[in-house]
Structure formats: structure tokens, C-alpha cells
């Protein structure tokens, strides 16, 4: 690991100043991803600004029934929060399906958003990777790409975003509150993470010097009936091949409201807007669910080893919606 300077941010203002005025500085939360990447010399910050002492560690209920989750709240605290468990079960579920108990105790909400891909070519200095070394090329495209993206990939990068929690947040229409040298602003969740295009090293909409202060979740009453399903190679503690987060409201046999997002399939948590469009007002049955899945996955492209994910994603969508619609 390369040597770095360490400082605790005393308050939010100090954190913004330290981040924007210190060359090559990075924020440190739980460290579960960053420390590992630094040990592998993938990340080489000259300075770390520790934000875990900032007053961003609370979950607050909003008057409209929504929630604001502070950036440094640990993943376990979100999954265990009574309001999350009751009103947003898909979010609690997505979190407990991710990582291990120890990592969930350490990892922060903002760190979960900021985590890097687990593409093995990104981790391997002997491999070419446009994300690690822009312009170098991508060895995953012609390599072993079973875990890689089927939607929104580019000729530069086929990596996936590894988060479970973010898939639920995408389905919930969350917003990301940030603050920076230019002041505070709010980013729609869908706009926060980027597709790779020809700059896969640029992963989020965060501008230099900006940091996440919290996540806003709208009331979304029908999310009480929601589900997160993760398909993976082993029963626990593994990244998703495909995951589906969904909330569904059925009225007289018709879909009244639906939210759907996919994980493990793209460079960002994938909000399934095409499937949602097909489902709006449709019969809440297997046939419509399959049509919606087909529509969403129509632009999907398989590579040598991940073609199976396309049908897997469709079946998982149908299965999850079927479970939410039944009973």
C-alpha cells in the first residue's frame, strides 16, 4: 500500500475543504472496499479524509413519510431500522443479501454507492483495464466474462456495479444529496451512476470536491409489498449474477403501480423503465410479466460466457413479480 496522510474531518465544511484542497485525496468511510483496493495498489490516494465522525450517521423520518438516511450510517443500521423493515422491505432485504455480517457492520451507505466493480481484470495489474488505466484496453471483453454486463456495456468496459443496496434504491426512486465547494445539490438516483461509454473510469456524477451527505427515499406507500431476489453461485456471501428489486401494487387484477430494477447486469444499478412501461395498467399475470421482461432485456447483449444471464434475468423478473402479485 502506498503511503498516505490521514485526517479526520471535524465538520462537513472542513470535509469539503479538505477534499477539494488536498491533491489526490479520497474520503474514508468503513474502508471495506477502499482499504482493499489500496492494498492492491488499484487506489493510490495521497490523503484520506475520514468522514465517520461527521454528524451524518442518522436515519430521519420526513413529515411526508419518507426517509433520509445519512451518508455514514452503517449498512446493518439501515437493514435493522424499523421503518425500513416495515415500509421498504426490499431495501432491508437487498442489504442483508449483500456481503457478510462483519462487512455490513463496517460499510457505510455512501461507501456502498461509491464501491468499485469486482471485475477481476480491474484488480489484475497484469491485465489491460480502461477503468484502472484509461486508454489501456479491456481484457475482460475477450476474456472470462461470466460475471459481466449484458446491458449498457461499451467497447471500453463491460464491468458491473456490485451493489445490492443500490438496486433497491434505484427501484425506490431515491435521491442522493451531495455537498461541494459550489454548495449542496440533489441527484436523482438514476443519474448518480454512469454507464461506461468511453470513460469507464468516471463512474458517478459527483464533481471534484463533492461528497455525499445522505440518501432521500420518497414515501412510496406501495413499497410495503416489495421484494429483492438475488441469484448467485452460492447460497450466501457472493456477488449477484442477476438480482431483481421490485415493488408492485395490483388493483382488480391490473398493475396499478410497479417499480423494477436489476443488479449484476450493468455498469450501474439498472432501473427497468421499459418493463415498467409495459406493465403499467397490464394484467398482473405471468404473460404480462414475461412481456415486460422481454421488453427490458431486448437490447441485452451476451458475451462468450454470460449469455445465460439474459434468460436468467427474464425468469427472475417473472418470478419476483409473480410472487408479489400472488396472495
Amino acid at each position: 500500500m502506498k503511503s498516505f496522510a490521514y485526517a479526520r474531518a471535524a465538520d462537513l465544511e472542513a470535509a469539503v475543504k479538505l477534499l477539494s484542497k488536498t491533491p489526490n485525496a479520497k474520503l474514508l468511510g468503513g474502508g471495506t472496499n477502499l482499504v482493499d483496493l489500496m492494498r492492491e495498489n488499484i487506489e493510490q490516494p495521497d490523503a484520506l479524509v475520514d468522514v465517520t465522525g461527521l454528524p451524518l450517521d442518522r436515519i430521519e423520518e420526513r413529515p411526508d413519510g419518507g426517509l433520509v438516511i445519512g451518508a455514514t450510517v452503517r449498512n446493518t443500521a439501515v437493514a435493522g431500522h424499523p421503518v425500513v423493515r416495515d415500509r421498504y422491505p426490499l431495501l432491508a432485504q437487498a442489504i442483508v443479501f449483500g456481503a457478510s455480517g462483519q462487512i455490513r457492520n463496517m460499510a457505510t451507505v455512501a461507501g456502498n454507492l461509491m464501491q468499485r466493480t469486482r471485475c477481476l481484470y480491474f484488480y489484475d495489474h497484469a491485465a489491460r483495464c480502461n477503468k484502472r488505466a484509461p486508454g489501456a484496453g479491456c481484457d475482460a471483453i475477450g476474456g472470462f466474462n461470466r460475471m459481466h454486463a449484458i446491458l449498457g456495456a461499451s467497447d471500453s468496459c463491460i464491468a458491473t456495479h456490485p451493489s445490492d443496496m443500490c438496486v433497491a434504491l434505484a427501484a425506490l426512486d431515491a435521491k442522493v444529496n451531495v455537498i461541494g465547494p459550489g454548495g449542496a445539490r440533489t441527484i436523482a438516483f438514476e443519474e448518480f451512476h454512469r454507464l461506461p461509454e468511453d470513460t469507464p473510469d468516471m463512474e458517478t456524477d459527483l464533481q471534484p470536491g463533492e461528497l455525499i451527505t445522505g440518501i432521500e427515499i420518497p414515501p412510496l406507500g406501495f413499497a410495503r409489498r416489495s421484494l429483492y431476489r438475488k441469484v448467485r453461485d452460492r447460497a450466501s456471501y457472493a456477488f449477484a449474477l442477476v438480482s431483481v428489486a421490485a415493488a408492485l401494487e395490483v388493483d382488480s387484477g391490473k398493475v396499478r403501480n410497479v417499480r423494477l430494477a436489476l443488479g449484476g447486469v450493468a455498469h450501474k444499478p439498472w432501473r427497468a423503465t421499459e418493463a415498467e412501461r409495459v406493465l403499467a395498467g397490464a394484467n398482473a399475470g405471468a404473460e404480462s410479466f414475461r412481456q415486460a421482461a422481454e421488453a427490458e432485456l431486448a437490447p441485452a447483449r451476451g458475451l462468450a460466457h454470460n449469455e445465460f444471464k439474459i434468460e436468467l434475468a427474464k425468469r427472475t423478473i417473472v418470478g419476483v413479480l409473480g410472487e408479489l402479485a400472488g396472495g
Binding site: 484520506l48 442483508v96 457478510s100 455480517g101 462483519q102 450466501s236
Partner: protein
């Protein structure tokens, strides 16, 4: 000619080098001068000779380095020690008080280990896991996230302990030991 006063309120970050920190480990204060790169695991093992926590993978995959920080289980290999000033750190060496902890006794009675390498992490993890369970935290096998009561079943224990690997495959004994130590305490 000095520029107008645009001094940031925050002092610049001191250069890389060493940091002086105070860590409370197993009830004892330790004042240490460390490189900020040092993981909690390396502080414990290399600076303080607390070799109970093991360096298995050193990348957060195996759980052998699990310790408790303020009662919560964490991976000491991915924790930077400089972040833990003022927190209560408990390693396997601090679990027993005079006599063995009942979970340690149960591990012996139920053959919860073979080579023993993962055992300190398994025991610290299980203690933290049981507290999470008692707090009502759901898991990936709980089903209803809002459930008021969760059964302390084999399936729940296995899922909640999946961050601790055992290459000898002593999982059956580990699961029995956890039941044996904690079943009677499960919140009714």
C-alpha cells in the same frame, strides 16, 4: 505579495508518516505510534502480540480476523487502526473472564473446530452475530423483513455466519456449539 486571506478553516492534512493513537483493547489502553496504513489486525498481531485474530486472506473474504468493536463484529484486516481511537476493541484474548466464555466451552464440547485457525474469528463473530439477532436484525433467510420474532434456526445461524470460512469443515459442530451456548437466551 501575500494573497488575500483565503485560508481554509480546516488545517491542511499533515504529511504521511506516523500517527499517535490511543487504542482500548480488551480493557487495556495502548498508546501507539503507527503508520496510518496499519490495519487493526497488524496492530494486534505485530505491535501487541495478540495473535488470536488470524490473517487468513487479508482481504475481507474469510473472517479469520474478526474482532468486536464496541460489541459489533468487524474485520480487523480491513479496519485502519487510526480510525478506531476511543473505541472498545475486544479480541478472542478478551472474551473469557477468569473462566472460559460459554461459547468457548460449547466449541470444545461440540467439536466446533479441527485445526483451530478460524476459531478465534468464529467465536468473536458468533458473539456479535447473536447480539444482532437479539436486536431483531433480519437476515437473508428471514423471509418477512418486518417479522417481530425470528426463529434462531440452523438456517439463520448458517446464513448469519457465512462470513466465517472453515477449511476443515467443522460447520456442523460450530452450528451446534452456537445453539448450545445461546438457545436459552433467545428473546421469547
Amino acid at each position: 505579495m501575500p494573497s488575500p486571506d483565503r485560508t481554509p478553516k480546516a488545517a491542511p492534512i499533515p504529511p504521511a508518516g506516523s500517527a499517535l493513537i490511543l487504542l482500548k483493547i480488551n480493557g487495556v489502553d495502548h498508546s501507539l505510534s503507527i503508520d496510518p496504513r496499519t490495519s487493526l489486525l497488524d496492530v494486534l498481531r505485530e505491535h501487541l502480540s495478540l495473535t488470536g485474530p488470524k490473517k487468513g486472506c487479508n482481504q475481507g473474504a474469510c473472517g479469520a480476523c474478526t474482532v468486536l468493536v464496541d460489541g459489533q463484529r468487524v474485520l480487523s484486516c480491513l479496519s485502519l487502526a487510526v480510525q478506531l481511537e476511543g473505541r472498545e476493541i475486544t479480541t478472542i484474548e478478551g472474551i473469557a473472564s477468569g473462566e472460559l466464555h460459554r461459547l468457548q466451552v460449547a466449541f470444545i464440547e461440540h467439536d466446533g473446530f479441527q485445526c483451530g485457525y478460524c476459531t478465534p474469528g468464529q467465536i468473536c463473530s458468533a458473539i456479535g452475530m447473536f447480539q444482532e439477532f437479539q436486536n431483531g436484525l433480519p437476515s437473508a433467510v428471514t423471509g418477512d423483513m418486518a417479522a417481530a420474532r425470528i426463529e434462531f434456526s440452523d438456517a439463520e445461524i448458517k446464513e448469519r455466519m457465512s462470513g466465517n470460512l472453515c477449511r476443515c469443515g467443522a460447520y456442523v459442530g460450530i452450528c451446534e456449539a452456537i445453539h448450545s451456548a445461546f438457545d436459552r437466551e433467545v428473546a421469547k
